[in-house]
């Protein structure tokens, strides 16, 4: 894995591909910096404690009770108790993804838990955290690491939701998020 971690070309390739499909990509060295960045982003998006202004954060390994408390204090309107109603009303969804594919700019996760899908489908903005070390070159590399027998819902996300169904004109944001912000975090562990 260290070889992959060291590889700046694979990171560059991922960034290029993801940006080519209208995702925004940021990279930070540590988990703490990632959380700071997210707080800034949520403030920018106008997340607050009122209808249609919440941020919903699906359960994830990188934050525990202590971080949650801090985040709730920093951003009123942030919610970790994701429900269908909250997600449908929220401005921003946040989740941690398990893998990323460099040659297509794709994020991949085991999304059996429904909150993972609610926060990444219903709100107009999705912030996706992923470990830099979870970057893989391509789909065949991923397929040796995931097993559908252990996961009932594997989800791949490549850029925001899009359509070209009217006159072949590309339009971003149909049923899913219209913006996807990917945050690569260098010191996050990779999914088992």
């Amino acid at each position: 894995m260290s070889a992959i971690l060291e590889s700046t070309t694979i990171i560059e390739s991922f960034k290029t591909r993801a940006e080519a499909v209208s995702a925004q990509v940021q990279r930070v060295a540590t988990k703490e910096l990632a959380l700071e960045l997210i707080v800034r982003l949520l403030h920018q998006e106008g997340v607050e404690e009122k209808p249609q202004s919440h941020a919903v954060w699906a359960s994830c390994r990188m934050i525990g009770p202590v971080e949650k408390k801090k985040l709730e204090a920093a951003v009123p309107g942030i919610r970790f108790d994701v429900t269908r109603e909250l997600a449908a009303d929220a401005k921003v969804g946040i989740s941690q993804l398990d893998w990323a594919l460099a040659n297509t700019g794709t994020l991949v996760q085991t999304a059996d838990a429904v909150d993972q899908r609610l926060v990444s489908t219903l709100p107009p903005v999705h912030i996706a955290l992923v470990s830099t070390a979870a970057l893989l070159p391509d789909l065949p590399a991923l397929l040796t690491r995931v097993d559908p027998r252990k996961s009932a819902y594997l989800a791949f996300i490549t850029g925001p939701s899009r359509t070209a169904d009217i006159e072949r004109v590309l339009t971003i944001g149909v049923h899913g998020p219209e913006r996807l912000i990917i945050v690569l975090v260098d010191d996050l562990e990779v999914a088992a």
């Binding site: 838990a113 996961s151 791949f156 490549t158 169904d165 944001g173 149909v174």
Partner: protein, 710 residues
Amino acid sequence: MNKEFKQSIIDALANPNLTGALGNFSVAYRAGRAKAYEGIDFEALRTQIADVKSSASSHFDELAEQFARVAEARGTKVFRTNDPKAVKDYILRLAQERGVKHIVKSKSMATEEIHLNKHLEKAGIDVQETDLGEWIIQLAGQTPSHMVMPAIHMTKEEVADVFSDKVEDGQKPDIPKLVKFARGKLRPMFLNADMGISGANIAVAETGSIVIVTNEGNARLVTTLPKIHVAIVGLEKLIENFKDIAPILTALPKSATAQLLTSYVSIISGPVPNTDGTPKELHIILMDNRRNEMAHDPRFKQALQCIRCASCLNVCPVFRLVGGHVFGKVYTGGIGTILTAWFSALKESDEIQSLCIQCGNCKDVCPGKIDIPDLILELRRRLAVEQGQPMIQKAIFSVVNNRRLFHTMMRAASIGQIPFAKGGFIRHLPMFLSNMTENRSLPAIADVPFRDRIKKIKQPKCTEKAAFYGGCLVDFAYPEMGEAVVKVLNKAGIEVIFPEGQTCCGAPARYSGAYEVAAQNGADNIQALLAEDVKYVVSACPTCTVALKHDFIANLESVGRTGELADARRLSEKVVDFSTLASQLLDQGRLKFKAGIEPTKFTYHDSCHFKRTLHADQTPRKLMKQAGYELVEMEESDMCCGMGGSYTIKMPEISAPILERKLVNIEKAGAPLLLIDCPGCVMQIGGGLDKRGSKIKVEHTVQRLANCLE
């Protein structure tokens, strides 16, 4: 031809929105697809897909069994049936038992195939399509015109009108606003639905998984929000191993929409929790509807390698003119013609199979490696067997096969002695040699055919012999092309003989589905061409060359005349097209270019059979560049010119605009000379340019090359 069908073609051609949108799209698609496949070995990739899918269709029963076993072990309910009605009943019963009032659907061609929505709506259930294109056509009361882009035939103005009419007044033709509007209107429907229905792009037997590919994100909502998820999966979606989803997922988005990957891929392998914590009820219906029967048909089995990317539509010169609706209500384009013949009825493909001009573009891009044009010919053949050959067609073939009589009649027609174009006669002629179209001038029929002219040519003493196969066009219309072949080969020390027993190459019969006639043509030619011991059998017509080299064998095989196959193969080995032979002779030093040839700009048109069956397209380019000529490529040089043998007569409305586009591209290239390796294309394009008063000179490569050699 049925009047209604003809009218649907004429209406489509007269719709500038349709032809404009599709015409522009086909250009953008070609470039986008090429970019998406950059750095990928497409041949290797599609061979992998074809192998995976072909192996699966050899074991549908076992794979379906395995899929059901694995999926059921995890709590999925799997229903298998051959009967479309049973699928509809199963879903309706399930909906009624669970008190389902509202259903949201993501895109599924399988449900279109069985007209599921109508069935559910009749029972009072609300069914909403959620793919934007599908929603638009559902609101408009139409059917999809394209497998991937169902509403590609509509403009934003039409969409705005449909939205205003059916959903909410006052919608403006502003695409981002229309998309936002759809999001806003469909969102509550997702949240309120009791059942989600999806299709699947792949089903994996090993893991009991279905793979769903979308861009809009609607499939994620359909499979997440309602408590019941029903997926309808055609058997052809089955593959054996999980790892084999990789080549399909690599090719599908690139071929379908020129994307590296779609926005979303969902791999569902069992029920997941609902938002209220209850487990989702997951039903997967494996639908046969004659797919297994197809898998047992030695010719059509390969059609099950289709991954429904619709690239065969996107590159089709006919589809981009007429759109999808003339093909029918469900599956459209080349593969659609084949699927309609199987999933609906053979006779339903009777009219639409005639839309195919046999250019072979689709075969080149098919990620499932399906020989779509060949399967369409096979449909033609089966239709001819089922319905019999029309009397008039039989009469025509007897004329065509008698070369002297044919020439006499052609001569008479060309000087206006018989009203050739009248009645049904002309429609069935193999080609073209009479004066009947408005869009191009036609060549004069030669007073003396090539078969008589060659007798007067004094040939030097040679050590090698080649038999020349003329074909009707060189023999009767362009004998000068034949003379140029003799001139070049003589320079290389090859004597050219013209076996008198040669007859029609059988292409007209084959392309009409009359395989018995075609096989007999082949047998007569084999005998004539093998009578004398020659080193080469050379032709200057790619359609004839393909017939001699490949189709004689195929035709004899298809009618069971196996005894003649050995000779057919012996002939095949000797057959070579003119440019390829010339290139070999130059490489061997038996031909030499003259010194000091004036550098002339030329552009080159790729004839369909020459490029896509003989794969000789680079040879004439190389030859002429070696001679000192300068090549200026035209746009879409390998797009069909609209000739297609008798297509120009059977479908003049479609042939004319195809030619028109070709002529514009030739003129835009700006070269004073156009070279082509096919006399049929020379006739079509030369006639078209002449009618426009163009100064561009059109020649067969052999005519130009003959003057460039020492």
